[in-house]
Symmetry: C2
Subunit: 473 residues, 2 copies
Amino acid sequence: MGAEPVRMMERNEAGIARVVARLGERFADRCQVGASIREQHGNTTTWVANFPPDAVVFAESTEEVSEIVKACAEEAVPVIPFGTGTSLEGQVNALHGGICIDVSRMDQVLAVHAEDLDCVVQPGVTRKKLNEYLRDQGLFFPIDPGADASLGGMASTRASGTNAVRYGTMKDVVLSLEAVMPDGRIVRTGTRAKKSSAGYDLTRLLIGAEGTLGIITELTLRLNGIPEAISGGICPFETLEGACNAVIATIQCGIPVARIELLDTLQVKASNAYSNLSLEERPTLLLEFHGSESGVREQAEMFGEIAAEFGGGDFQWAREQEERTRLWQARHDAYWACVAMRPGAKAVATDVCVPISRLAECITESRRDLDASGLTAPIVGHVGDGNFHVSLLIDMNDGAEVEAASGFMARLVERAIAMDGTCTGEHGVGHGKAKYLRAELGDAVDVMRTIKRAIDPQDIMNPGKILPEGLSR
Amino acid sequence: MGAEPVRMMERNEAGIARVVARLGERFADRCQVGASIREQHGNTTTWVANFPPDAVVFAESTEEVSEIVKACAEEAVPVIPFGTGTSLEGQVNALHGGICIDVSRMDQVLAVHAEDLDCVVQPGVTRKKLNEYLRDQGLFFPIDPGADASLGGMASTRASGTNAVRYGTMKDVVLSLEAVMPDGRIVRTGTRAKKSSAGYDLTRLLIGAEGTLGIITELTLRLNGIPEAISGGICPFETLEGACNAVIATIQCGIPVARIELLDTLQVKASNAYSNLSLEERPTLLLEFHGSESGVREQAEMFGEIAAEFGGGDFQWAREQEERTRLWQARHDAYWACVAMRPGAKAVATDVCVPISRLAECITESRRDLDASGLTAPIVGHVGDGNFHVSLLIDMNDGAEVEAASGFMARLVERAIAMDGTCTGEHGVGHGKAKYLRAELGDAVDVMRTIKRAIDPQDIMNPGKILPEGLSR
C-alpha cells in the first residue's frame, strides 16, 4: 500500500538476544515474548504491515524506562514506546526488531493544580481517564482525537482532533515533559510556568517526535475550566463548497467555535447505518459552542446566519447532553461506521491539512479523484483547521484496488502540499508517510536528521520512523 | 551586574579581518564599520556591557543573509542577527566579535491571506508596522511586547507581552519560518496549514533560539480578526495579594480577558508622574476585554464582581479608544516612567514567571527583598500568565548598589525556580541569564548543547548566548 516495502536492516540478532534475556531476568512476567502480545504491540489500528518487537516490557516507573533504555543502548538494540497502540501510520512497528516499552501501567494522575489550571500525569493515562479524574473539580483536558489514546502517545504524534480549532493541539497544551533520552538520562524540559523564554524548546521538539528522540515519561498539561454552557447541533448543506465556505466565514468572524466538523454525504450514510441515526444524507457540519449561557446563544445565532447564507438547511439543536453525546459518539465512531460499510474491507485512514481557503477545492478534487478511481471512501474533517480524513475501504486481496488506493493517497498528499498544506495534520509520519516528508519540507529534513543523529547516534529510538531514508542514509 | 564578566574567547582576528574586507567589497556602504554604528548594534536597551561587532551588514534579502553566513562559515567568524535591538539580556552583543547582520531593511509584508487569517512577512517588519498594514483588512497581529520590536527578533526571543494571556506567545502564532542555517543553507520549517504532525517541530526549535541555530529570514504568522468590541479599564486594590487573587479567580472562571496587567504602587507613582495621570497610588490592575458588544459587557461585569470580592476599588471604565490608548501607552511607557523616576540611574529590567497560584507570594517576597536591600524598583506584570517584571533603578557608579542589585536578581530567579517557575518568561536568556539555565533545567541543558553542536559545529551563530558554558565547555 502507501508505504514502500521495508528494506530490512540487518537485525542486531546477538544484541537483541542478550537484551531480551537480561530484561526477562530483571522483569520476569512483565517482560513478555509471546507471539500474540508481540504482534498486538507491533500494530493495532494502522493499515501498515505488522513488524512485532522481540519483547514487550511493561514499565511501571520512569526509572524502569531509563533502565530498559540503558540496557538497549549498551547493545545498540531498538526501543519502541507504546501507549495504547491507536496510532495510524505504523508508529509502533518494530521495523528492525527490538524492545517495546509498554507504558500503559504508568497511568497515574500525579497532581492537579486547580488554581493554576494544570496537572501532572504519567504517559499511560488516557484522555478519557484524565477527564473522568478531573470532572469533580470542574476542569477538563480539551484535546480529543476520538480514540481513547494515552497522553504520552498523543504528545508523541502531536495529536489534536475535534476541539483543536478552539483549544489547540498537543503542542499548545503541554507545559513541560519529563523524558528518558537515548542514553537513559532522565531530563525535564520545562517548569509549570505558563510561558518561558529559557532556552531551546525541548518540549516542542519531543512533541511530534514519535519516540525517535526520547521516551516521554511524564507530562505537565494545561487544563480548562468546564464551560458554564455547552450547546451544539448539526446542519446539512446543499453542497460541500457551501459547507466549507460557512466554516471559513465562521472562523473569520471570530466565532470561538469549540468544534466544527464536516461529514461528507457518504460518511453521513455510513453513520446513519452504523449509529442508527436519521440524518439528511448531505454534506453536514456538526458544531459545538462553549461559553456562558448568553455567549453560547450568541455564537449559535451568528453561525445560523452564516449557514443560511451558504445554503445551510435547518440547524437542528442538541441542547441536551444526552443528545450531544449521541451525535459526537457517532462522529467518533465514523471510522467504525466506515469499516461496517464494507465488511471484509480494511479501512485505511489518512489525513492531510490545508489552509482553509483551499479546503473546499481540496476536498472536492479528492472526491472526484476517489470516484474516478472507483474507490469507496467517506470523508470527515476537523474543517475549522483545514484538516480532513479520507477513510479508504480497501479489499486488500484485490491488487488493482490496492494499487488504486496507493495512487490516490500519493495524489492526496501532492494536492495538499501544492496548496501549501501538509501531508499530515494530526496522524503523524510514522513509517507510512516518511516518503512524503522531503516533498513537503525539502532541506529541513536534513536538519531533522542532524538533530536525530546528534541526540540518538546509535539510532535505537524507534528507528525507521519519520526520517525518510533512515538515519545513516 | 547580574552577568558574569565575559571570559574573552580568542578572537579569530585573521578570519574576522578577511570577512570584513570581503563583505566591505561586496556590500559597499551597506557594510558599516564605524564605531558608533557598531556600538549601537552591540547593545541598546539592555544593561549588559556593550560588545560591538566588527562590522554591520544591512542585508536586503534571504539570499544576501545566506551569502554573508557562508562567508562567515568559511572563516569560522561569528554572525549575530539584529532586528531593532530592543532585547534586554544582551542578545545582540558580539561577545567574540564578528559580523552583525541587520535585517531592518527586510521590512516587507509579503502576503496577507485574509481568508486563512495568516500573513507572510520579512523579519525586519515591526509589530506596529504590521498592524498598520493590516488594519484596513479588519485583521490584527496580537503579540505586543511593548517595544516596537521586529518580528524576527520577537520570534528569536520567544516574546510575548500584554496580550499573551488571551492570544499566546510567539511560539503560538508562528505557523512556519524560513531560516538561514549555519552553513548558509536556506530551509523552510513548515507550511501554511494551521496544524501539522509532519516531523520535528523546527519552527518551535528556532523560536527562542536567539539566533544561535539559524537566522530567521521570513515568518508566516497567524492573525486575528479585529474584535467587534473592545473595552477596558483600571481597578485599584487594597493589597497586592488582593489584586493577584482577583487575577487567579478571573482566569479560573474562564473569563477570556485579553489583557490583565498589574502595576504595583511604586509603578503607579512613576506612571502618574511620567504620563501625567492621576491614578490612585495603590496596586492596580489594568484590563482589556475583546469580543462582541454583549460578550465584552458580560466579561466586564464578571470581573467587577470578582474584583469587589478581593478588595478592588472603583473600576474606572475606558470605553473610548482614546482613553484606552492613553492608559495602555502609560503601561507601555512603564519602563520610561521608571527611568524618569531616578535621573542618571540605569533601569535594569528583569523578568520571571511562576504558576499563578504562587504569584502573590513571589511578588510580595520580592518587594520585601527590594525594600530590605534599599533598592528602588517598580514592579509591573503580565499577571494573567504569572509573569512579572522588576525594573531596578541603579546608580551604576555606586558599587554597593550594583552589588545589592546583582544579589537581588539572583534571589529573584532562585525564588521563581523554587516555585516551579522560570528565570525568564519573555525576555530570553541572552548573555545575562545563561548562568541560571542549569538551575532551572538541569541536564536538559546538555541536550540543548548537543543540538547546538550538531547544527552549528563551529559555534558561529550568536556564540556565548543561552548556553551557560559556551559550546565546547
